[in-house]
Symmetry: C2
Subunit: 205 residues, 2 copies
Amino acid sequence: MIVSGFSGAGKGTLMKRLLESHDNYALSISMTTRAPRPGEIHGKHYFFVEKDEFEKTIAEDGLIEYAQYCGNYYGTPKSYVEQCLNEGRDVILEIEIQGALKVKKKFPEAVLVFVTPPSAMELRNRLIGRGTETKEVIDKRLSRAVEEAQGIENYDYIVINDELDRCVEDIHAIVMALHCKTNRSISIIEEISKELNEISKGEEK
Amino acid sequence: MIVSGFSGAGKGTLMKRLLESHDNYALSISMTTRAPRPGEIHGKHYFFVEKDEFEKTIAEDGLIEYAQYCGNYYGTPKSYVEQCLNEGRDVILEIEIQGALKVKKKFPEAVLVFVTPPSAMELRNRLIGRGTETKEVIDKRLSRAVEEAQGIENYDYIVINDELDRCVEDIHAIVMALHCKTNRSISIIEEISKELNEISKGEEK
């Protein structure tokens, strides 16, 4: 599952709460060439690597997707995602829309979820509410938000983050529903039909 | 949403529990020409009507689907389903696969869910477990079960009824996820994008 959303839509808090309240999830960890910030831990917040290692990983097709931003590489290592999937966990990738759509093309089984505040005013209030950004930055983000929604019509689900706990349960419901998709369980029905045939035959004897 | 399943899969109990634990659901009520059994209430268990009224409803295209069984008509009246949908409720129809597939053709937005016990043996045990049927009836049901699964590959979801409460929550998750489908909420994103544009313009003045 890939989760995207407007900056300020509350994705971070949402993911944190989802992972706290349900034990089936794993959050994908990105690989980056930027320097760690104080408090950031290698293998928890990011996999911090040198430029040549990142480019070697690209060459080996070891990334699900990657992009360059402010002179640094950011990408999603395949190996960590595959490891989590093999452990039977539901892996969540946080990627912006354009990257997410590329992943969907490569992996059609990926499910795209967009998180949005209930209104533009609410979004603006949240951006201001943080109190950590200048007016200029906020305005820039607002105009960027319009761009951030480009391609949304290709998404599978939209989750409205008006109430955190309900929003967490919406995302959980989407994942639980995916587990019930017919293609995942049709073998059980085929097995039952086969067994029923055998029972019937057995009783006729 | 249309729920189907093997006889003995526990659909009845499941639906009862779902309606008790969540208040967004309405169970569709069938129309039939068969006589009421003791305790059955018109408008609750069935809409009991005369043959000519049933055929008039068919002629008026007032049924979502109908079938004849043991000389009696059974069908799903459109009006009751539409009334519940207009009240904002999630309507559940209990129909066998062949009827369900016909409904899906007419109403592609219908979602098909198949309920199954975890194994053929479990299914057989449940049928015997009721203690109300003869061995002959049980055997007939077992061989019918094989037929009942024909067409299952066209279903959207399969829910395994191994533990009642989990199964109820699976069905609820499927419905909650459907509410998050992009086509249902894309207007919110369009609205936000429009408003953000206006905010940006307003601040430039």
